[in-house]
Symmetry: D3
Subunit: 137 residues, 6 copies
C-alpha cells in the first residue's frame, strides 16, 4: 500500500508558484489537496485492515477520512474561486464542471468507505493539479 | 441603515427545506449566507462611522468583515457542491457562473472596504436564494 | 420524517431583525439555533435507520449530533447574553430559567440518542424564538 | 503590573474537583476563566504601553483581548449550564443574575479598552470561582 | 476513580506566574496541560465502564480522549517553545528530551486505550509542572 | 519579490514520503511548513508596500502573518514529535536544538515586522526540510 502512495506521489507534477489566502499573497499550490486526497485513500485502506473490535482506531480513521475529505474540498475550492480567472475559461472550457464533480467526490468519500471512490478522488485532484500546471505555460 | 437591512431581509423568500452537512441530512438553507452578506455590508458601514482613532473597533469590524465574507463563501459553496445536482443544470444553465462570481465577490469584499461591492454581494446572494427557491417548484 | 421537519419549520415565526456578533452589529436571529435543534432530531432519527454494521455513518451521525447540540447551545447563549437586556426581565420573568433549561437539554441530547429529548429541544428552542419575536412587539 | 496579576492570582482559591466537557467527565474548574479574564486585563494594559505607531502589536493585543473575552464567556457558561444544577439554586438565589452580568462584562470588554471594566471582569470571575468553591462545602 | 483524580490534582503544585500567548503576555501555566492529561485518563476509564453497545458514548469518549491528548501536547509545547529559554538549559539538561517524550506519550494515548499509558502521561506532565515550578526558584 | 519566492521554492527538495496525522498514516511532508514560512515573509514585504492609511489590508496582513507563523510552528512540531524517532538522534545530534530555535523564530516573527527575521525563518525551515530528506537516505 505504501508503494501505491509513493507511486501516486511520484506522478504529482512539482509546482513552483503558490497562493492560498485572500490577501492575496499569490501563493497557490495544489499539493495540500493532493495530500488530503491521499489521506482519504489511506484511511479507507486502514479501515479494511483494523480488526472489527478495534473501535478506537476505526473511529479515528473514520474521523480522519471525514476531516481530509473536507480539507480536500476546501483546498480545491480555493483554487477554483481565487486562482482561476475569466481568462482561463477559454483554455479550460470544462473548468467549472471539473471542480464541481471533484467537490462532489469529496462528499461521496465522506459517506462511503469505498477504495474505488477514494482512488477516483486521488485521480480527479491530480487532474486539477495538471490543469493548474498547464495554466502556467 | 437599519431600515436598509430590514428592507433587504424582507425581500428574502422564506424556505422550508434545509440541508447543510454532508451526512447528508437534507437540511439546506440559503439564510446563513444571506446573514453573512448582510454582516459584511454592516461592517463596511460601521467602518465609515467609527472615528479614525478608535483602533479597537476598526480592527474588530475589519476582522468581522473578513470572517463573514469567508463564511458567506463557505455557505454558498455548500449549496453549489452538495445541494445542486446534475438535474438542475438544465433549468439553471448559468449555475456554475453564478456561484463562481459570487464567491469571487466574497474575496473582493475582504480586500476592500467598499459599500457598493458589499451591496453587490448582498444582491448576488439573494439571487442564489431565489435560484434555490425556484429549484423547489 | 421529512414531513415532521417541514411541519416544525412552518411553525417558525419569520424574523426581520438580526444580531449575532459582539461588534455589536444588531443582527440577531434565532433561526441558526432552530436549524441546529432540527439537525439533532434528524441525527437521532438517522441513528435508528442505519444498519447496525454501518459504523461509518453511525459515527458520523453521532458526531453531527454532538456538533449541532453544541452549536444550538452556543446560538441560544448569544441571544441570552447579548440580545436580552435588563429591560426584558420584567416582560419575561422566566428568561434565565428558560435559557438555562434549554442549554441543559443540549447537553442531554449529546449524552443520549433519544427522540423524545430531541423533540423537547426543538420545542424549547421554538419557545425561545417566540420569546424573541414577542420582545420586538 | 505583574505584581497586580500575582496578587490577583494569589486570591484565587485552589480547587480539586474538575469537569469541563459534556461527556460528562466530572472535571470542572473555574481557573481557565480566571486566566482568560487576567489576559483581558493584561491586554488593556499593554495597549496603553505600546507606542501609537506599533500597529503590529496593537492589532495583536486587540485580537488577544477579543479572543480571551470570548473564551472567558465560554468557560463561565460551561459552569453555568453544566456544573450548576437545580439543587444549587436555593443556596445561590442570584446564580443566574451573576452569570448573566459576567457574560455581559465579557462583551463590554470586547467593545472597549477600559482598565476599570477589565478589573470588574477579573473580580466578577473571582466571585464565580468563590461560588463554585462554596458549592463544594 | 474520582478519588484517584482528586489525589492526582492534590499533588499539583500551585503556580502564581502565567503566560500562554505569543503577545507575549507573560501568563504561563502548566495546569491546562494537567487537566488535559487527567481527562485522557478519565476517558480511558470511561471506555472500560460503558457497555459494549453504547456506541454513542464510546465514540464520544474516544473523541474526547483524542481532543485532550491533542490539547495536552499543544499546551506543553507552548511551555517548551515560549516559556523555557536558553538560560534554563543548564539547570535542566534533559529539558528537550523530557518534552519530546511527553509529546510522544500524547500520540500514544491517541492510538491506544491503555490505562497504564494514560497514567504515564499524567505523571510526565506533573514532572513538567514541577520543572516549571523549579524554574521560578 | 515574486522572483525571490520562486527562487526559494526552487531550492526546496522534493519529497515522496508523507505523514501528518496521529492515526498514524505515515504521510509526512515539510512543505506545508515551508509554504507557511514563505507566507510570513510575503506578509512582511506587503506591510512595507501598503500605504499607511490602508488599515484594512495592513490589519489583514498582520493577521495572516500571525496565523501562518502559528501554522509554521504547528507543522514543524508535528515532524519533531511524530516523525523523528529515537533512532534519528544519533544521525542528527542537534535535532532538538534545531526545532526549538525554529519554533522560537516563529514567535519572534509574530512579535515583529522584520524582513531579516522572516528570511531567517524561511532558511531554518528549509534546513529542517533538508534534515527530513537526509533521514530518508
Amino acid at each position: 500500500m505504501n508503494k501505491l502512495i509513493s507511486f501516486l506521489f511520484n506522478l504529482i507534477p512539482s509546482q513552483v508558484v503558490y497562493a492560498h489566502c485572500d490577501v492575496p499573497c499569490g501563493i497557490y499550490d495544489p499539493k495540500p489537496a493532493q495530500i488530503a486526497a491521499a489521506t482519504v485513500l489511506k484511511m479507507v485502506q486502514k479501515l479494511k485492515e483494523y480488526p472489527e473490535d478495534d473501535l478506537n482506531n476505526r473511529v479515528r480513521a473514520i474521523w480522519t477520512k471525514e476531516e481530509h475529505a473536507r480539507k480536500c474540498k476546501e483546498e480545491i475550492l480555493i483554487l477554483w474561486t481565487d486562482y482561476f480567472k475569466e481568462e482561463h475559461l477559454e483554455k479550460f472550457p470544462d473548468l467549472h464542471e471539473k471542480f464541481w464533480k471533484t467537490a462532489k467526490l469529496c462528499s461521496e468519500n465522506k459517506q462511503h468507505v469505498d477504495e474505488e471512490k477514494a482512488q477516483e478522488l486521488v485521480k480527479a485532484v491530480d487532474e486539477i493539479a495538471q490543469m493548474f500546471a498547464d495554466s502556467k505555460k
